[in-house]
């Protein structure tokens, strides 16, 4: 059975953005992203102007998926933290609540220790919100949230002009 969609609402989106904004500051990071395991960008914080965030999200998810495959082969459930060290920038990737991926990009103005510490706290907060969100999605959507049902065939055809 295809699983139901991940749905993001205004309220949770604001809460999530507030958490990753704070993480960005507390960890002295350059950028913070939240990505769905399927590769969709959920939220970002920091200066993303020069960055292809869509590609970044897709490759992060691919990276986590490949590492998850390795973990399974070794009999691990998953590798919940990945760290890539570059000459200038480093990437810290962690899985939150088995469902979303938290990405922190930082340089020598921060440190792995600090990032780890701050990520831990932010993860717990994010986990709570994501759980709430999934509950809300499982419950029947209200009329206001059910806009999609009104899509007509004509709307779909219009996309291709």
């Amino acid at each position: 059975m295809p699983t139901s969609s991940l749905i993001m609402f205004e309220e949770e989106f604001k809460q999530i953005t507030a958490i990753i904004d704070r993480l960005l500051k507390d960890a002295n990071a350059k950028l913070v992203f939240l990505v769905d395991k399927d590769g969709q960008l959920i939220a970002s914080s920091g200066d993303t102007r020069d960055l292809d965030t869509t590609s970044l999200a897709s490759l992060t998810a691919g990276n986590i998926a490949a590492t998850g495959g390795l973990a399974k082969l070794l009999g691990e459930k998953e590798f919940s933290i990945l760290f890539h060290e570059g000459e200038k920038d480093n990437i810290h990737i962690s899985i939150v609540g088995q469902r979303v991926i938290l990405v922190v990009i930082f340089d020598n103005r921060s440190s792995l220790g600090l990032v780890r510490l701050r990520v831990k706290k932010a993860s717990e907060e994010l986990n709570t919100i994501i759980k709430k969100l999934l509950h809300r999605v499982e419950a029947k959507p209200s009329a206001e949230e059910n806009l999609l049902a009104e899509i007509s065939d004509a709307d779909i055809d219009k996309l291709f002009h």
Partner: protein, 195 residues
Amino acid sequence: MSFINYSSREINCKIVYYGPGLCGKTTNLQFIYKKTNPEHRGKMISLATETERTLFFDFLPLSLGDIKGFKTRFHLYTVPGQIFYDASRKLILKGVDGIVFVADSQVERMDANIESFENMKANLKEQCYDLANIPYIIQYNKRDLPNVVPVVEMKKVLNVSGVPDFEAVAATGHGVFETLKAVIKLVLIELKKGT
């Protein structure tokens, strides 16, 4: 799995091009990339071998305009067709909203088509998906070659369920956008049902 963001008013869907090695999956995406206005597409990422065979996946993000005030975005992926990359294929199928099965029309590739189609069903099943419940269509590619199997024959083998199917020459772009439009339409109709 689609991602609907009511806050930024976006709908995101994932479409996967599946099929045997060298059938033309990457070529489909390359043509879409080339012919799409840069405003409506992002960078195409190809994780490929030195000989341009897909190693992990190709990725092309498209954004196609609004429906009822929602921006629609489609993430196109290809799987690696070579048999021994099965672990990667499984990963890429995760969260799929729609599939294009690209078949190679050449006589000598019919066995490979069937094997790949069965492999797709098995991999979906492993993730508790049933092909019957997923929007999918079939593309008979490489119709320009001399040694092709007649379409009626291919239908009998690969399209027993009678899903929408299209002839194509991905190398010149013939049939590529017809295929894409058809799968997007099916995905959106399914999304509408689901809500």
